[in-house]
Symmetry: C2
Subunit: 414 residues, 2 copies
């Protein structure tokens, strides 16, 4: 029996207890986990310092070092995150719908936990506390498979969370850290029947490996090659404000803008203004011949740049003949995350909304709003780019399944 | 490019058209498909006769021959099924929820089709028309991979359905038959990005191969090792009626009863009465030592019989010490389909409902009610035994995804 199987079996036992727990006990446990994490701040920071030192020694990029690094402020934010989960409604037990058959049999569809959730993620150790908290609130046990580069940080965090669980009288195995190399990811993908759902969070390579290799059902939190189409009927000032926000407000996230499509009818007028504003904001533009003929400050884009998720201050640009061409480009290059149209034309809006196949379609608003927090969900485990189970920002209800409860007084089928 | 890839690409093009189609056009197409199938009845029966003859020659069992065989009545029932789909509400376009952010951005979560759905199924050719109709009504294209034993029947049915689509002005590629051997199943499982969801319908072997091998998301319509627990506080007459119904009303289906658990406190009284009634109804009982000591008419059960889905007039029996033992047995042997308790004890009811992890949990009612038709859904593609996406009877809404439509007037994220 591998360590993963052992952890998953223990988590299943814990999950049975979590599944029938009332909200008050779960919320008390979340506060106890928050208290324990706050108390362990020094230990967590020490452990994190050793992870960071090790990463520096092995020549890790500063961007990754930043993701890996914890501070008192980041720990405070994890603590606040756990406490705020306690203030959210419990998704478990919600009656999604209920009805009565002609024969008097009553049926309720009730939300229940998924069971054991495996989270496979990269260097950010704050995911450890966030994911454990969201799983617990939704009645699920969690197996947390963080990056080995963050193993000391994750150990210290999980130790604190488990101490909190214990002090609240809940099984420590409700939250467990999976350590080890890539073989543990494979073992999690093969743990069908022991792990109910796997959620990979990270880069395209990790997510692709999990969605194609797993025997356990996966919820794909995919990448975002997000497009914005400036229609011929766009308010160009509005377009500019939204493009700047979507590209520059936080370029490293999945709902940031990556490709700008401009209707040929407004390209001559709009492209130079956009290049001015974006260049001033530090953005490098990569475009097709048509856009470069309008503004030579645009550097040439290679074909595969239209499939790139830059996650940086870079933006692909393309001039398209019309709405149909924009829809066709998006269809060929979308990752199904968030796609935007800027237009005042009601027919164009409606066609874009209906014909673009993505988790979120935006009209005259920044794609940066596609986020559990911004949507008002209060907590988010990630943004699903798949079509089954959950699509878009995933909050507590998306971490549940349902069960039909059928109650009769002796009815049989005729 | 394999034939499966070719069919899937054509289906994707059709699916784009279906996704934006209004209800009236879909309903008209369903009626046209029904008309065409009714008109083709003779061709379908001739084709089916050749399949049946071939199956007989190769020594196929009579049970399978029965599943494979069509009659005018079965064709009529497919035709009625297509017409009745037209009378059901369109799940596509339903606003699941909608709200407004503080900054005035409006968000709607709207039902949209999944896209291209692959159905992999066994010998029953009526599934061909049913699945095609349910997919079409929910705005999805379908790739139907039936059994090669039914290939002539399926060809004739799909030919009629496609003619109906054509006469209604819809793309024929909305419905396609996948022919060929096992390699086509593998190709479908690898068609990630071309097929959106695979739904296997059939025996445990088929379903297991698909759920463990597919890179395309799968909805598992699993097997039903359904248990019924007669509690010490059961109304024994009620228990008997429900057991007889659940076991004998249609033994070959997944919501039929397979294992009877009897509380030790009533076993001496109840087991002989149950054996009388069940034996009279032609049921063979297979039990543990405790049950056989009470009634020697029960034959010995092998250990693996408690995991069997008999699908026949056989029933496993076990005497259990109490509710906890019943829950533990179910936990170890459930396939997560439908589990029943017969009791008048409110605490036992509540514990059973909360602690049993299955798509449906029944109190004092027959598990034969766990069915889309009985639930009042009007159509069913199968019963999901997985926890993600959909669990229990899957009707039209379960054949959809959702999309967030975010509408603003220039809002950006602060």
């Amino acid at each position: 029996m591998t360590e993963v199987v052992e952890l998953a079996r223990a988590a299943r036992v814990a999950a049975r207890q979590l599944a029938v727990l009332d909200r008050a006990h779960k919320d008390a446990a979340l506060h106890a986990m928050a208290d324990a994490l706050a108390d362990a701040a020094d230990d967590v920071l020490t452990a994190n310092a050793s992870d960071v030192a090790r990463a520096r020694e092995s020549g890790t990029s500063e961007a990754l070092i930043d993701r890996l690094s914890l501070s008192q402020a980041r720990i405070d934010s994890m603590v606040v995150g756990l406490r705020s989960l306690a203030s959210l409604p419990d998704p478990v037990g919600e009656v999604v719908r209920g009805w009565q058959l002609a024969n008097g049999v009553h049926i309720d569809q009730v939300r229940v936990p998924l069971g054991v959730i495996g989270i496979i993620y990269e260097a950010r150790p704050n995911v450890t506390a966030d994911a454990a908290g969201i799983c617990l609130k939704s009645g699920n046990a969690s197996l947390l498979r963080g990056s080995s580069s963050a193993v000391n940080s994750n150990r210290a965090i999980v130790k604190a969370l488990r101490a909190g669980l214990d002090s609240a009288g809940l099984p420590q195995d409700s939250v467990a850290l999976v350590e080890g190399g890539h073989e543990t990811t494979t073992e999690m993908m093969q743990a069908r029947g022991l792990i109910d759902v796997l959620i990979p969070r990270g880069g395209a390579g990790l997510i692709n490996a999990v969605v194609t290799g797993s025997q356990v059902p996966v919820i794909e939190t995919g990448t975002g090659n997000c497009h914005l189409f400036v229609d011929v009927a766009a308010d160009q000032q509005m377009a500019l404000g939204i493009i700047l926000n979507a590209k520059t407000q936080r370029p490293s996230v999945c709902n940031a803008l990556e490709t700008l499509l401009v209707h040929r009818g407004v390209a001559d007028e709009f492209v130079p203004v956009a290049v001015d504003a974006l260049t001033n904001a530090g953005v490098t533009l990569h475009g097709d011949d048509a856009s470069r003929q309008i503004d030579p400050r645009i550097t040439p884009a290679t074909a595969d740049e239209y499939d790139a998720e830059y996650l940086s201050l870079d933006l692909a640009v393309k001039v398209v003949d019309n709405l149909d061409a924009a829809l066709a480009h998006i269809r060929d290059h979308t990752t199904g995350h968030s796609e935007t149209i800027i237009t005042n034309d009601a027919v164009a809006q409606r066609r874009f909304v209906n014909e673009v196949d993505a988790a979120a379609v935006l009209v005259n608003a920044s794609s940066r709003f596609v986020d559990g927090g911004e949507f008002g969900f209060g907590a988010e485990i990630g943004i699903s780019t798949q079509k089954t189970h959950a699509r878009g920002p995933m909050a507590l209800p998306e971490m549940t399944s349902t069960k039909y409860v059928v109650t009769g007084s002796g009815q049989v089928r005729a």
